[in-house]
Amino acid sequence: MINRLFTLLIWGLASCVLFAFGWLMVDVLVQGVPMLSLDFLTSDPIRSGRAGGIYPIIVSTFLILGVALTIVLPIGLGSAIWLCEFSNKDSKIVSTIRLSLDVLAGVPSIVFGLFGYAFFCGFLELGFSILSGGLTLACMMLPILIRTTEAGLAAVPNEWRRAGAALGLSRTTLLWRVLIPYAAPAITAGLLLSIGRATAETAALIFTSGYVDRMPESLADSGRSLAVHIYDLSMNVVGGDKAAYGSALVLIMFIVSINLLANALSESWMQKRVSRQ
Protein backbone atom coordinates (compact mmCIF):
# COMPACT_ATOMS: atom_id res chain seq x y z
CA MET A 1 0.00 0.00 0.00
CA ILE A 2 2.70 2.42 1.06
CA ASN A 3 4.71 1.19 -1.84
CA ARG A 4 1.86 2.05 -4.21
CA LEU A 5 1.48 5.50 -2.68
CA PHE A 6 5.19 6.12 -3.07
CA THR A 7 5.10 5.12 -6.72
CA LEU A 8 2.19 7.48 -7.15
CA LEU A 9 4.13 10.24 -5.40
CA ILE A 10 7.15 9.80 -7.67
CA TRP A 11 4.99 9.87 -10.78
CA GLY A 12 3.19 12.89 -9.36
CA LEU A 13 6.41 14.81 -8.72
CA ALA A 14 7.67 13.98 -12.19
CA SER A 15 4.43 15.11 -13.79
CA CYS A 16 4.58 18.40 -11.90
CA VAL A 17 8.05 18.99 -13.32
CA LEU A 18 6.78 18.14 -16.76
CA PHE A 19 3.82 20.45 -16.26
CA ALA A 20 5.99 23.41 -15.25
CA PHE A 21 8.26 22.80 -18.20
CA GLY A 22 5.32 22.40 -20.54
CA TRP A 23 3.78 25.61 -19.30
CA LEU A 24 6.98 27.54 -19.86
CA MET A 25 7.58 26.05 -23.28
CA VAL A 26 4.02 26.41 -24.52
CA ASP A 27 4.04 29.99 -23.30
CA VAL A 28 7.25 30.80 -25.14
CA LEU A 29 6.12 28.99 -28.27
CA VAL A 30 2.59 30.40 -28.38
CA GLN A 31 3.76 33.96 -27.88
CA GLY A 32 7.08 33.64 -29.63
CA VAL A 33 6.31 31.74 -32.82
CA PRO A 34 3.94 34.38 -34.29
CA MET A 35 6.77 36.91 -33.92
CA LEU A 36 9.28 34.74 -35.67
CA SER A 37 9.96 35.62 -39.28
CA LEU A 38 12.88 36.37 -41.50
CA ASP A 39 11.93 40.00 -41.18
CA PHE A 40 12.16 39.82 -37.39
CA LEU A 41 15.67 38.43 -37.62
CA THR A 42 16.91 40.86 -40.21
CA SER A 43 15.49 44.26 -39.36
CA ASP A 44 16.26 46.93 -36.80
CA PRO A 45 14.16 47.38 -33.68
CA ILE A 46 11.63 50.18 -33.84
CA ARG A 47 10.33 52.15 -30.84
CA SER A 48 12.64 50.51 -28.30
CA GLY A 49 11.90 47.11 -29.76
CA ARG A 50 8.13 47.17 -29.56
CA ALA A 51 8.14 46.65 -33.28
CA GLY A 52 10.73 45.80 -35.86
CA GLY A 53 13.33 43.10 -35.45
CA ILE A 54 16.44 42.15 -33.60
CA TYR A 55 19.13 42.18 -36.26
CA PRO A 56 21.61 44.53 -34.53
CA ILE A 57 21.03 42.66 -31.30
CA ILE A 58 21.98 39.35 -32.87
CA VAL A 59 25.05 40.96 -34.34
CA SER A 60 26.03 42.45 -30.97
CA THR A 61 25.48 39.11 -29.25
CA PHE A 62 27.85 37.37 -31.61
CA LEU A 63 30.40 40.16 -31.40
CA ILE A 64 30.41 39.97 -27.60
CA LEU A 65 30.73 36.20 -27.77
CA GLY A 66 33.50 36.53 -30.32
CA VAL A 67 35.50 38.88 -28.12
CA ALA A 68 35.02 36.60 -25.13
CA LEU A 69 36.06 33.48 -27.04
CA THR A 70 39.14 35.11 -28.55
CA ILE A 71 40.37 35.80 -25.06
CA VAL A 72 39.15 32.76 -23.24
CA LEU A 73 40.03 30.03 -25.72
CA PRO A 74 43.82 30.28 -25.70
CA ILE A 75 44.11 31.18 -22.03
CA GLY A 76 41.56 28.63 -20.91
CA LEU A 77 42.74 25.68 -22.99
CA GLY A 78 46.38 26.47 -22.26
CA SER A 79 45.81 26.71 -18.53
CA ALA A 80 43.81 23.50 -18.52
CA ILE A 81 46.50 21.59 -20.39
CA TRP A 82 49.14 22.90 -18.05
CA LEU A 83 47.09 21.98 -15.01
CA CYS A 84 46.40 18.48 -16.23
CA GLU A 85 49.63 17.54 -17.98
CA PHE A 86 52.46 19.65 -16.65
CA SER A 87 51.65 20.75 -13.13
CA ASN A 88 52.80 18.95 -10.05
CA LYS A 89 49.54 17.61 -8.67
CA ASP A 90 50.77 17.45 -5.10
CA SER A 91 51.86 21.04 -4.82
CA LYS A 92 49.88 23.37 -2.59
CA ILE A 93 49.83 26.06 -5.24
CA VAL A 94 48.16 23.83 -7.81
CA SER A 95 45.45 22.69 -5.43
CA THR A 96 44.87 26.29 -4.41
CA ILE A 97 44.51 27.28 -8.04
CA ARG A 98 42.03 24.47 -8.53
CA LEU A 99 39.93 25.52 -5.57
CA SER A 100 40.00 29.16 -6.67
CA LEU A 101 38.79 28.11 -10.10
CA ASP A 102 35.95 26.14 -8.53
CA VAL A 103 34.98 29.11 -6.43
CA LEU A 104 35.14 31.44 -9.38
CA ALA A 105 33.04 29.09 -11.48
CA GLY A 106 30.30 29.45 -8.89
CA VAL A 107 30.54 33.19 -8.31
CA PRO A 108 27.28 34.92 -9.25
CA SER A 109 27.47 36.56 -12.62
CA ILE A 110 26.37 39.87 -11.17
CA VAL A 111 29.66 39.94 -9.26
CA PHE A 112 31.51 39.58 -12.55
CA GLY A 113 29.30 42.36 -13.79
CA LEU A 114 30.44 44.51 -10.87
CA PHE A 115 34.06 43.76 -11.63
CA GLY A 116 33.69 44.38 -15.34
CA TYR A 117 31.84 47.63 -14.74
CA ALA A 118 34.49 48.91 -12.37
CA PHE A 119 37.56 47.53 -14.13
CA PHE A 120 36.94 47.41 -17.87
CA CYS A 121 34.40 50.21 -18.18
CA GLY A 122 35.82 52.42 -15.45
CA PHE A 123 39.46 51.74 -14.76
CA LEU A 124 40.50 50.83 -18.31
CA GLU A 125 38.12 53.48 -19.66
CA LEU A 126 36.55 51.20 -22.22
CA GLY A 127 33.12 52.50 -21.28
CA PHE A 128 29.95 50.59 -22.09
CA SER A 129 31.20 48.65 -25.05
CA ILE A 130 31.19 45.30 -26.72
CA LEU A 131 34.82 45.01 -25.69
CA SER A 132 33.98 45.52 -22.01
CA GLY A 133 31.13 43.06 -22.23
CA GLY A 134 33.19 40.45 -24.03
CA LEU A 135 36.07 40.76 -21.59
CA THR A 136 33.71 40.45 -18.64
CA LEU A 137 32.15 37.36 -20.16
CA ALA A 138 35.64 35.98 -20.75
CA CYS A 139 36.39 36.30 -17.03
CA MET A 140 33.18 34.47 -16.29
CA MET A 141 33.76 31.68 -18.79
CA LEU A 142 37.41 31.12 -17.97
CA PRO A 143 37.06 29.01 -14.82
CA ILE A 144 34.25 26.93 -16.32
CA LEU A 145 36.19 26.24 -19.49
CA ILE A 146 39.37 25.36 -17.63
CA ARG A 147 37.60 22.93 -15.36
CA THR A 148 35.67 21.16 -18.12
CA THR A 149 38.73 20.91 -20.36
CA GLU A 150 40.79 19.61 -17.52
CA ALA A 151 38.15 17.02 -16.68
CA GLY A 152 38.13 15.92 -20.31
CA LEU A 153 41.90 15.49 -20.36
CA ALA A 154 41.99 13.83 -16.96
CA ALA A 155 39.56 11.21 -18.24
CA VAL A 156 42.05 10.08 -20.88
CA PRO A 157 43.47 6.79 -19.61
CA ASN A 158 46.84 7.12 -17.98
CA GLU A 159 48.19 4.05 -19.69
CA TRP A 160 48.66 6.06 -22.87
CA ARG A 161 50.77 8.59 -21.04
CA ARG A 162 52.85 5.74 -19.70
CA ALA A 163 53.05 4.07 -23.10
CA GLY A 164 54.09 7.36 -24.65
CA ALA A 165 56.81 7.95 -22.12
CA ALA A 166 58.06 4.38 -22.45
CA LEU A 167 58.41 4.96 -26.20
CA GLY A 168 60.37 8.13 -25.58
CA LEU A 169 57.69 10.33 -27.14
CA SER A 170 57.81 13.95 -26.13
CA ARG A 171 54.89 15.26 -24.14
CA THR A 172 54.10 17.61 -26.97
CA THR A 173 53.74 14.77 -29.45
CA LEU A 174 51.74 12.68 -27.05
CA LEU A 175 49.40 15.56 -26.30
CA TRP A 176 48.96 16.57 -29.88
CA ARG A 177 48.66 13.14 -31.45
CA VAL A 178 46.95 11.09 -28.76
CA LEU A 179 45.56 12.89 -25.73
CA ILE A 180 43.94 15.94 -27.31
CA PRO A 181 42.37 14.08 -30.25
CA TYR A 182 40.93 11.57 -27.82
CA ALA A 183 39.61 14.22 -25.45
CA ALA A 184 38.46 16.54 -28.24
CA PRO A 185 34.74 15.72 -28.05
CA ALA A 186 34.71 16.25 -24.29
CA ILE A 187 36.66 19.49 -24.60
CA THR A 188 34.35 20.71 -27.36
CA ALA A 189 31.31 19.79 -25.31
CA GLY A 190 32.66 21.81 -22.39
CA LEU A 191 33.34 24.71 -24.71
CA LEU A 192 29.84 24.57 -26.14
CA LEU A 193 28.29 24.48 -22.69
CA SER A 194 30.21 27.54 -21.61
CA ILE A 195 29.19 29.30 -24.83
CA GLY A 196 25.62 28.42 -23.95
CA ARG A 197 26.00 29.93 -20.52
CA ALA A 198 27.63 33.03 -21.90
CA THR A 199 24.84 33.54 -24.41
CA ALA A 200 22.25 33.23 -21.68
CA GLU A 201 24.07 35.75 -19.54
CA THR A 202 22.36 38.99 -18.67
CA ALA A 203 23.52 40.24 -15.29
CA ALA A 204 27.19 40.44 -16.27
CA LEU A 205 26.40 42.36 -19.45
CA ILE A 206 23.85 44.99 -18.45
CA PHE A 207 26.47 47.27 -16.97
CA THR A 208 29.35 46.38 -19.25
CA SER A 209 28.20 46.11 -22.85
CA GLY A 210 25.33 48.47 -22.33
CA TYR A 211 21.83 48.97 -23.58
CA VAL A 212 22.09 50.61 -26.96
CA ASP A 213 19.97 48.73 -29.48
CA ARG A 214 21.32 50.11 -32.72
CA MET A 215 23.93 48.46 -34.86
CA PRO A 216 27.36 48.72 -33.22
CA GLU A 217 29.90 50.46 -35.38
CA SER A 218 32.97 49.02 -33.72
CA LEU A 219 33.99 46.94 -30.75
CA ALA A 220 34.30 50.14 -28.74
CA ASP A 221 30.64 50.80 -29.36
CA SER A 222 27.93 49.77 -26.97
CA GLY A 223 25.89 46.75 -28.05
CA ARG A 224 22.88 45.05 -26.55
CA SER A 225 22.92 41.29 -26.26
CA LEU A 226 19.86 39.18 -26.87
CA ALA A 227 19.39 38.31 -23.19
CA VAL A 228 19.67 41.96 -22.18
CA HIS A 229 17.18 42.80 -24.91
CA ILE A 230 14.65 40.39 -23.44
CA TYR A 231 15.20 41.82 -19.99
CA ASP A 232 14.81 45.37 -21.16
CA LEU A 233 11.71 44.68 -23.22
CA SER A 234 9.93 42.94 -20.40
CA MET A 235 10.95 45.28 -17.58
CA ASN A 236 11.27 48.71 -19.10
CA VAL A 237 9.23 48.75 -22.29
CA VAL A 238 5.47 48.78 -21.91
CA GLY A 239 4.01 46.60 -24.64
CA GLY A 240 7.30 44.92 -25.34
CA ASP A 241 6.20 41.49 -24.19
CA LYS A 242 5.48 40.09 -27.62
CA ALA A 243 8.86 41.06 -28.96
CA ALA A 244 10.42 39.80 -25.75
CA TYR A 245 8.90 36.37 -26.33
CA GLY A 246 10.03 36.41 -29.94
CA SER A 247 13.58 37.16 -28.83
CA ALA A 248 13.33 34.58 -26.06
CA LEU A 249 12.39 31.96 -28.61
CA VAL A 250 15.39 32.85 -30.76
CA LEU A 251 17.68 32.73 -27.75
CA ILE A 252 16.30 29.41 -26.55
CA MET A 253 16.60 27.86 -29.98
CA PHE A 254 20.22 28.94 -30.20
CA ILE A 255 21.14 27.68 -26.75
CA VAL A 256 19.19 24.46 -27.08
CA SER A 257 20.90 23.58 -30.33
CA ILE A 258 24.28 24.30 -28.77
CA ASN A 259 23.44 22.15 -25.76
CA LEU A 260 22.09 19.34 -27.91
CA LEU A 261 25.29 19.38 -29.92
CA ALA A 262 27.33 19.30 -26.72
CA ASN A 263 25.29 16.39 -25.41
CA ALA A 264 25.61 14.43 -28.61
CA LEU A 265 29.35 14.97 -28.57
CA SER A 266 29.89 13.91 -25.00
CA GLU A 267 27.56 10.96 -25.44
CA SER A 268 29.48 9.68 -28.43
CA TRP A 269 32.63 10.17 -26.41
CA MET A 270 31.28 8.15 -23.53
CA GLN A 271 30.36 5.44 -25.96
CA LYS A 272 33.91 5.44 -27.28
CA ARG A 273 35.27 5.13 -23.76
CA VAL A 274 32.94 2.33 -22.84
CA SER A 275 33.60 0.34 -25.99
CA ARG A 276 37.31 0.61 -25.34
CA GLN A 277 37.07 -1.41 -22.18
Binding site: F112, L153, V256
Partner: protein, 298 residues
Protein backbone atom coordinates in the same frame (compact mmCIF):
# COMPACT_ATOMS: atom_id res chain seq x y z
CA UNK B 1 72.50 2.65 -41.44
CA UNK B 2 72.68 2.04 -37.73
CA UNK B 3 74.95 5.00 -37.22
CA UNK B 4 72.90 7.40 -39.25
CA UNK B 5 69.77 6.28 -37.43
CA UNK B 6 71.52 6.92 -34.17
CA UNK B 7 72.50 10.38 -35.34
CA UNK B 8 68.97 11.10 -36.39
CA UNK B 9 67.75 10.06 -33.01
CA UNK B 10 70.12 12.41 -31.30
CA UNK B 11 69.37 15.37 -33.55
CA UNK B 12 65.63 15.07 -33.27
CA UNK B 13 66.08 14.51 -29.62
CA UNK B 14 67.72 17.85 -29.06
CA UNK B 15 65.02 19.54 -31.07
CA UNK B 16 62.28 17.74 -29.21
CA UNK B 17 63.53 18.54 -25.74
CA UNK B 18 63.24 22.12 -26.79
CA UNK B 19 59.68 21.65 -27.94
CA UNK B 20 58.59 20.19 -24.62
CA UNK B 21 60.28 22.88 -22.62
CA UNK B 22 58.87 25.63 -24.79
CA UNK B 23 55.38 24.21 -24.60
CA UNK B 24 55.58 23.95 -20.83
CA UNK B 25 56.85 27.49 -20.59
CA UNK B 26 54.14 28.78 -22.90
CA UNK B 27 51.39 26.95 -21.05
CA UNK B 28 52.58 28.03 -17.65
CA UNK B 29 52.57 31.56 -19.01
CA UNK B 30 48.90 31.16 -19.88
CA UNK B 31 48.24 29.65 -16.47
CA UNK B 32 50.03 32.62 -14.97
CA UNK B 33 47.69 34.92 -16.87
CA UNK B 34 44.72 33.06 -15.46
CA UNK B 35 46.06 33.34 -11.94
CA UNK B 36 46.75 37.03 -12.42
CA UNK B 37 43.22 37.51 -13.64
CA UNK B 38 41.79 35.69 -10.64
CA UNK B 39 43.85 37.79 -8.29
CA UNK B 40 42.91 40.93 -10.18
CA UNK B 41 39.20 40.20 -9.85
CA UNK B 42 39.36 39.61 -6.13
CA UNK B 43 41.76 42.47 -5.51
CA UNK B 44 39.68 44.90 -7.50
CA UNK B 45 36.47 43.95 -5.73
CA UNK B 46 38.15 44.40 -2.36
CA UNK B 47 39.66 47.68 -3.45
CA UNK B 48 36.29 49.03 -4.55
CA UNK B 49 34.59 47.79 -1.40
CA UNK B 50 37.34 49.05 0.87
CA UNK B 51 35.86 52.44 1.78
CA UNK B 52 32.78 50.69 3.16
CA UNK B 53 34.44 47.85 5.00
CA UNK B 54 37.74 49.06 6.42
CA UNK B 55 38.03 49.65 10.13
CA UNK B 56 34.68 48.71 11.46
CA UNK B 57 32.85 50.19 8.54
CA UNK B 58 31.30 46.83 7.87
CA UNK B 59 29.19 47.32 10.99
CA UNK B 60 27.04 49.81 9.18
CA UNK B 61 25.65 46.94 7.08
CA UNK B 62 24.23 45.38 10.23
CA UNK B 63 22.28 48.41 11.37
CA UNK B 64 18.59 47.92 11.53
CA UNK B 65 17.30 51.28 10.29
CA UNK B 66 17.21 50.04 6.72
CA UNK B 67 18.71 50.74 3.33
CA UNK B 68 18.50 54.40 2.43
CA UNK B 69 21.74 54.91 0.56
CA UNK B 70 21.03 58.55 -0.21
CA UNK B 71 20.80 59.26 3.51
CA UNK B 72 23.85 57.16 4.20
CA UNK B 73 21.89 54.36 5.83
CA UNK B 74 23.31 51.15 4.48
CA UNK B 75 21.66 48.33 6.39
CA UNK B 76 22.02 45.22 4.26
CA UNK B 77 20.26 42.90 6.67
CA UNK B 78 16.78 42.97 5.10
CA UNK B 79 18.23 42.06 1.74
CA UNK B 80 20.52 39.49 3.24
CA UNK B 81 17.59 37.76 4.90
CA UNK B 82 15.54 38.12 1.73
CA UNK B 83 18.31 36.34 -0.19
CA UNK B 84 18.38 33.58 2.38
CA UNK B 85 14.59 33.28 2.39
CA UNK B 86 14.38 33.10 -1.39
CA UNK B 87 17.29 30.66 -1.62
CA UNK B 88 16.14 28.34 1.16
CA UNK B 89 12.54 28.52 0.02
CA UNK B 90 13.47 27.65 -3.55
CA UNK B 91 15.60 24.79 -2.30
CA UNK B 92 12.82 23.41 -0.15
CA UNK B 93 10.44 23.49 -3.08
CA UNK B 94 12.92 22.19 -5.64
CA UNK B 95 14.42 19.38 -3.57
CA UNK B 96 11.44 17.00 -3.55
CA UNK B 97 10.71 17.63 -7.21
CA UNK B 98 14.36 17.40 -8.24
CA UNK B 99 15.09 14.29 -6.24
CA UNK B 100 11.72 12.84 -7.17
CA UNK B 101 12.34 13.26 -10.87
CA UNK B 102 15.84 11.79 -10.51
CA UNK B 103 14.35 8.73 -8.79
CA UNK B 104 11.68 8.68 -11.45
CA UNK B 105 14.17 8.52 -14.30
CA UNK B 106 16.46 6.10 -12.51
CA UNK B 107 13.98 3.58 -11.17
CA UNK B 108 10.37 4.23 -12.07
CA UNK B 109 10.02 5.48 -15.60
CA UNK B 110 9.63 2.99 -18.43
CA UNK B 111 12.46 3.44 -20.92
CA UNK B 112 10.28 5.17 -23.50
CA UNK B 113 9.36 7.84 -20.96
CA UNK B 114 12.56 8.03 -18.94
CA UNK B 115 14.88 9.07 -21.73
CA UNK B 116 12.78 11.91 -23.14
CA UNK B 117 12.04 13.02 -19.59
CA UNK B 118 15.75 13.25 -18.87
CA UNK B 119 16.05 15.19 -22.11
CA UNK B 120 13.38 17.62 -20.86
CA UNK B 121 15.32 18.19 -17.65
CA UNK B 122 18.51 18.82 -19.61
CA UNK B 123 16.63 21.27 -21.81
CA UNK B 124 15.27 23.01 -18.76
CA UNK B 125 18.82 23.34 -17.44
CA UNK B 126 19.72 25.27 -20.57
CA UNK B 127 16.89 27.80 -20.50
CA UNK B 128 18.38 31.25 -19.85
CA UNK B 129 17.43 32.83 -16.55
CA UNK B 130 16.05 35.89 -18.26
CA UNK B 131 13.48 33.69 -19.98
CA UNK B 132 12.38 32.33 -16.61
CA UNK B 133 12.11 35.92 -15.47
CA UNK B 134 10.06 36.85 -18.49
CA UNK B 135 7.74 33.92 -17.95
CA UNK B 136 7.43 34.63 -14.24
CA UNK B 137 6.71 38.28 -14.90
CA UNK B 138 4.07 37.78 -17.57
CA UNK B 139 2.42 34.56 -16.39
CA UNK B 140 3.06 33.88 -12.75
CA UNK B 141 2.93 37.39 -11.32
CA UNK B 142 -0.56 38.19 -12.73
CA UNK B 143 -1.78 34.82 -11.48
CA UNK B 144 -0.44 35.31 -7.97
CA UNK B 145 -1.76 38.86 -8.08
CA UNK B 146 -5.31 37.59 -8.41
CA UNK B 147 -4.79 35.42 -5.42
CA UNK B 148 -2.61 37.55 -3.16
CA UNK B 149 -1.81 40.99 -4.55
CA UNK B 150 0.59 42.49 -5.46
CA UNK B 151 1.83 39.31 -7.12
CA UNK B 152 5.50 40.17 -7.34
CA UNK B 153 6.59 38.67 -4.05
CA UNK B 154 8.78 36.33 -2.10
CA UNK B 155 6.46 33.51 -3.11
CA UNK B 156 6.74 34.17 -6.83
CA UNK B 157 10.49 34.48 -6.59
CA UNK B 158 10.69 31.17 -4.77
CA UNK B 159 8.63 29.39 -7.40
CA UNK B 160 10.57 30.78 -10.35
CA UNK B 161 13.90 30.09 -8.70
CA UNK B 162 12.80 26.60 -7.70
CA UNK B 163 12.07 25.72 -11.31
CA UNK B 164 15.45 27.14 -12.29
CA UNK B 165 17.50 25.13 -9.83
CA UNK B 166 15.46 21.97 -10.16
CA UNK B 167 17.48 20.62 -13.12
CA UNK B 168 20.74 21.07 -11.18
CA UNK B 169 19.46 18.98 -8.28
CA UNK B 170 17.82 16.48 -10.56
CA UNK B 171 20.77 15.91 -12.87
CA UNK B 172 23.40 15.60 -10.13
CA UNK B 173 21.16 13.31 -8.06
CA UNK B 174 20.48 11.22 -11.11
CA UNK B 175 24.13 10.73 -11.90
CA UNK B 176 24.83 9.95 -8.24
CA UNK B 177 22.12 7.29 -8.33
CA UNK B 178 23.40 5.98 -11.63
CA UNK B 179 26.89 5.62 -10.21
CA UNK B 180 25.73 3.26 -7.47
CA UNK B 181 26.83 -0.34 -7.93
CA UNK B 182 24.06 -2.53 -9.35
CA UNK B 183 24.93 -4.98 -6.59
CA UNK B 184 23.03 -2.72 -4.22
CA UNK B 185 19.79 -3.18 -6.10
CA UNK B 186 20.29 -6.92 -6.42
CA UNK B 187 21.00 -7.26 -2.72
CA UNK B 188 17.93 -5.24 -1.80
CA UNK B 189 15.84 -7.35 -4.11
CA UNK B 190 17.32 -10.50 -2.58
CA UNK B 191 16.20 -9.26 0.83
CA UNK B 192 12.73 -8.86 -0.62
CA UNK B 193 12.63 -5.16 0.19
CA UNK B 194 9.77 -3.26 -1.35
CA UNK B 195 10.75 -0.80 -4.05
CA UNK B 196 9.92 2.12 -1.81
CA UNK B 197 12.10 0.81 1.03
CA UNK B 198 14.87 0.12 -1.42
CA UNK B 199 14.77 3.64 -2.84
CA UNK B 200 14.25 5.54 0.40
CA UNK B 201 16.16 3.24 2.72
CA UNK B 202 19.06 2.05 0.60
CA UNK B 203 19.66 3.85 -2.67
CA UNK B 204 19.13 7.49 -1.70
CA UNK B 205 21.22 7.18 1.49
CA UNK B 206 23.94 5.44 -0.54
CA UNK B 207 24.02 8.33 -2.99
CA UNK B 208 23.83 11.09 -0.43
CA UNK B 209 27.23 12.54 -1.24
CA UNK B 210 26.40 13.19 -4.86
CA UNK B 211 22.98 14.47 -3.96
CA UNK B 212 24.41 16.87 -1.39
CA UNK B 213 26.90 18.20 -3.91
CA UNK B 214 23.97 18.84 -6.25
CA UNK B 215 22.09 20.62 -3.49
CA UNK B 216 25.10 22.79 -2.70
CA UNK B 217 25.51 23.74 -6.35
CA UNK B 218 21.82 24.55 -6.47
CA UNK B 219 22.08 26.80 -3.40
CA UNK B 220 25.00 28.62 -4.96
CA UNK B 221 23.01 29.16 -8.11
CA UNK B 222 19.93 30.27 -6.18
CA UNK B 223 21.83 32.82 -4.09
CA UNK B 224 23.61 34.16 -7.15
CA UNK B 225 20.67 34.45 -9.47
CA UNK B 226 19.96 38.04 -10.24
CA UNK B 227 17.59 38.99 -12.99
CA UNK B 228 15.00 36.26 -12.79
CA UNK B 229 14.51 37.13 -9.13
CA UNK B 230 14.67 40.84 -9.78
CA UNK B 231 11.92 40.52 -12.36
CA UNK B 232 9.42 38.80 -10.09
CA UNK B 233 10.23 39.67 -6.47
CA UNK B 234 8.90 43.22 -6.34
CA UNK B 235 12.19 44.68 -5.05
CA UNK B 236 10.91 46.50 -1.97
CA UNK B 237 13.62 46.62 0.66
CA UNK B 238 12.08 45.01 3.70
CA UNK B 239 12.50 42.08 6.00
CA UNK B 240 10.89 38.99 4.46
CA UNK B 241 8.00 38.69 6.89
CA UNK B 242 5.20 37.44 4.67
CA UNK B 243 5.23 34.97 1.86
CA UNK B 244 3.31 37.32 -0.39
CA UNK B 245 5.21 40.51 0.43
CA UNK B 246 7.59 41.91 -2.15
CA UNK B 247 11.29 41.60 -1.24
CA UNK B 248 14.62 42.65 -2.66
CA UNK B 249 17.58 40.28 -2.70
CA UNK B 250 21.26 41.26 -2.57
CA UNK B 251 21.98 40.47 -6.20
CA UNK B 252 18.97 42.38 -7.44
CA UNK B 253 20.01 45.31 -5.30
CA UNK B 254 23.37 45.44 -7.05
CA UNK B 255 21.77 45.29 -10.47
CA UNK B 256 19.23 47.96 -9.61
CA UNK B 257 21.56 50.52 -8.09
CA UNK B 258 24.96 49.98 -9.62
CA UNK B 259 24.33 52.40 -12.45
CA UNK B 260 23.95 55.46 -10.27
CA UNK B 261 25.67 54.56 -6.99
CA UNK B 262 28.60 56.70 -5.89
CA UNK B 263 31.07 56.83 -3.02
CA UNK B 264 30.08 54.89 0.04
CA UNK B 265 26.93 53.61 -1.58
CA UNK B 266 28.93 52.14 -4.44
CA UNK B 267 31.42 50.67 -2.04
CA UNK B 268 28.55 49.06 -0.17
CA UNK B 269 27.35 47.41 -3.37
CA UNK B 270 30.82 46.01 -3.98
CA UNK B 271 30.91 44.83 -0.39
CA UNK B 272 27.69 42.93 -0.89
CA UNK B 273 29.20 41.41 -4.03
CA UNK B 274 32.20 40.30 -1.98
CA UNK B 275 29.88 38.85 0.58
CA UNK B 276 28.14 36.77 -2.09
CA UNK B 277 31.52 35.63 -3.32
CA UNK B 278 32.48 34.57 0.18
CA UNK B 279 29.29 32.56 0.61
CA UNK B 280 29.97 30.82 -2.70
CA UNK B 281 33.52 30.17 -1.52
CA UNK B 282 32.21 28.35 1.54
CA UNK B 283 29.79 26.35 -0.58
CA UNK B 284 32.47 25.40 -3.11
CA UNK B 285 34.78 24.39 -0.28
CA UNK B 286 32.07 22.13 1.09
CA UNK B 287 31.33 20.65 -2.32
CA UNK B 288 34.99 19.92 -3.04
CA UNK B 289 35.41 18.28 0.36
CA UNK B 290 32.43 16.08 -0.40
CA UNK B 291 33.42 15.07 -3.88
CA UNK B 292 37.04 14.29 -3.08
CA UNK B 293 37.42 11.91 -5.95
CA UNK B 294 41.01 12.37 -7.02
CA UNK B 295 41.27 12.25 -10.78
CA UNK B 296 44.95 12.92 -11.16
CA UNK B 297 46.62 11.48 -14.22
CA UNK B 298 49.90 9.54 -13.99
Amino acid sequence: MTQSAGLLIQLSHIKKRGVDDWLCLFLSGLMGLTVLLLLLIVAFLILEAWPAIHGDGWRQFLRSDGWYPLEGKLGLLPMFWASIAVGVGALLVALPFGLGSAVFIAYYAPKVIGKPFAGVITLLAGVPSVVFGLWGLTELVPLVNQWHPPGASLFTAIIVLAIMILPTISLTSYSALLALPTQLQLNSAALALSKKTMVVGVLIPAAWRGITVGVLLAIARALGETLAVLMVAGNVVQMPTGLFEPVRVLTANIALEMAYATDNHRAALFASGLMLMFVVFLIALGASKLSKKEMSPI
